[in-house]
Symmetry: C2
């Protein structure tokens, strides 16, 4: 029996790392565990009764479409519903600007596939979404991190890095941004900075990948326009998903971009999985057509607002002095900064022993920073779990702070 | 506005070609068109009533699982049901040998991703499934075609090519086979040849990718064991799918392999799409658990047998002398060989003008052969469509034969 496959592996496979988040998700199974680790939406927000009706209707009336192969671009009805929704939100796009993907993660993968050759540079925030980083890395990209402040990625720092890399003769292609309630940092990029980043992309001939899963989960303050909507150069490729505003179990996302870009994404998707499930696409299309997303989404936002508020209260109540955290206006996460001397990785081991979990912030830094940071999810846990979980976590942190003193 | 993205594209994207099949699928939309082109299952075989009940049950009782993110490996209940089904068919595997993919196409893509570096060789049948060929090509593989006869891939020819490539210092990794009712040729690999090909893989240290979507769609003759079941060296990676035995609209396939191989496939899948839709997986798991596949599958097979018989009758009745075709014992396709002087590509244009479509056989040859061959699907069309479609097609072929005389 074969006992090693190392000599068969591609260079890319040799470099593959397990995703810290996906690994930690498994811990959710253990009884008694309170996990702030995953980015899981609350099950209570899933529109179960609506879906029961729609699933039956779709099977009754259009099973010949819903159970058959679909086109690679995606269900035309779903694409139409999405385009119309963007229009209502002030972005003038049509079905030709929309391609459906098997979750946003597939879109990240397809974008990396069509643009990245080994050694090409991608510029991304410090920190940035792990799944994005891993998609780019798996195609051999080199990542260069750009610092963020409270207003998001700093354009001047971005330009400095671009100029520097160009001077060194490096091949730059993409700027990767997560502008709204950034995963993991919870920060939102201001409109004036979005415009500056678009200008930099034009000036230095780069594309912008805008990863936008959380924009509509806003608790307060004014909704930002998609970066896509601020651009008229065709350089912004925007990734959206139903995972956070509807349910992740359908695995449906979409790419919003110019047709000349989507054409290549479609070609890549043909090889990747032919098409996304026609069944879940058609159910979702009918759900949108009935206007149910607009009815259900405010309830989801209200629940998450309540959980964020409680989470912030508990942090105030339990956390030792010298621990700092963000107060996000939306999204699913707090980002926590511990004293410099604390290593979140060894803290995680102790936290898990005490039945509370988070994700180490360092996983989100492409430059090995962030050893003293953690990402905390507040969407998934109940009131009781948030209170007990933060208390447990604060205890573990206090103990660790006392130990390494 | 940006009007070219060529300078941003990766090498792989520059080489991407539209899939002939996916493009032709779009023609299905035109009214009056009779298409023998796609590999579409018959809508009549979709278990609509069963699914209506199960979808509602799953949403009622386990929406917190079905609408949430799942593990990358796949729904444990579905993996268990699949492993048990393999056991009932005489293959002793457990859940650790099964990973769920977003259709078989994703499995082909993930396998190419983890094993293929630019310039690595993959050996495949002449002809072979286009989606497999394209997956390997998109990662920079070089393909070397091995001739088939009525018993499938010829092991002696395979060994000759292996030795020759090794002598030339080439890096060989995979043998790609479609052993049962091969797409497109409809040929089945005999058991003794499967064993010989396994021996060649052991002797020259290669892996075998067994693509097996059609094995259970058998109209007559004896069911072959999976190549996986004949191997005890751990070198066979088998791809199966629910697309042909259940419905393609769910996009659920699975890989059957040793855990050390699946581990890398799971890592690649994390980046590709995180996980396959938990909803369709759970519905499918309950469908299997209730034994409904075993009840419905014989009806599907009976329908396809009837359609194959009718298709063969119509070919006998309408086709001009000098046209040859296979009589497959199962699967979804006839493979047709026209006289040498006929080019199936120009024939296709004329066929489409006459509202009948097929796929050019040359798309399935990695070495530019097969210009005078076509793949004809018999699973999707009604009795009337088969009769009219073959008559139309025969007329187009006759005209062409007269023209180029």
């Amino acid at each position: 029996m074969i006992n090693s496959i190392t000599h068969f592996l591609s260079q890319s496979a040799k470099g593959m790392k397990r995703s810290a988040i996906r690994e930690i998700l498994k811990l959710l199974q253990r009884p008694g565990m309170i996990s702030f680790a995953g980015g899981l939406p609350a099950s209570e927000t899933f529109p179960v009764e609506d879906l029961k009706k729609i699933a039956v209707e779709v099977l009754e009336k259009e099973s010949h479409i819903a159970l058959q192969y679909g086109t690679t671009e995606g269900d035309p009805l779903l694409r139409k519903m999405i385009a119309e929704r963007h229009k209502r939100q002030g972005i003038n796009v049509g079905i030709e600007n929309i391609v459906i993907t098997t979750g946003s993660q597939q879109a990240l993968d397809l974008i990396a596939r069509i643009f990245i050759d080994h050694g090409d540079y991608v510029l991304c925030g410090l920190p940035s979404y792990l799944g994005g980083i891993n998609a780019f890395l798996s195609y051999g990209a080199k990542l260069k991190g750009i610092p963020l402040d409270d207003n998001g990625m700093i354009p001047e720092e971005l330009e400095k890095v671009v100029v520097n890399l160009k001077d060194l003769g490096r091949k730059l292609k993409l700027i990767y941004i997560i502008p709204d309630f950034q995963n993991p940092a919870g920060i939102t990029l201001t409109e004036s900075r979005r415009i500056k980043i678009i200008e930099i992309a034009r000036k230095y001939d780069l594309l912008i990948v805008e990863d936008s899963p959380y924009r509509e989960i806003r608790f307060e303050g004014e909704q930002q326009q998609l970066t896509f909507g601020l651009d008229n150069s065709g350089r912004v490729i925007t990734l959206c998903t139903f995972s956070k505003i509807f349910a992740p179990g359908f695995r449906v996302g979409w790419v919003l971009a110019q047709p000349i870009i989507l054409e290549k994404i479609v070609l890549a998707k043909q090889t990747a999985d032919l098409c996304t499930s026609a069944f879940v696409q058609r159910v979702l299309a009918r759900y949108l057509e009935k206007g149910l997303l607009e009815i259900n989404l405010p309830k989801t936002i209200a629940l998450y607002r309540e959980r964020r508020n409680l989470m912030l209260e508990c942090f105030e109540r339990f956390m030792p002095k010298d621990v700092k955290w963000t107060k996000p206006e939306g999204g699913l996460f707090l980002f926590v900064t511990l004293p410099e001397k604390i290593n979140a990785s060894s803290l995680l081991t102790k936290a898990i022993e005490n039945n509370v979990a988070f994700v180490e912030g360092s996983s989100f830094f492409c430059n090995n920073q962030g050893h003293n940071t953690m990402r905390i999810n507040f969407s998934f846990s109940s009131r009781e779990e948030i209170e007990n979980g933060v208390e447990r976590l604060a205890k573990v942190i206090s103990d660790e702070m006392n130990n390494v003193r």
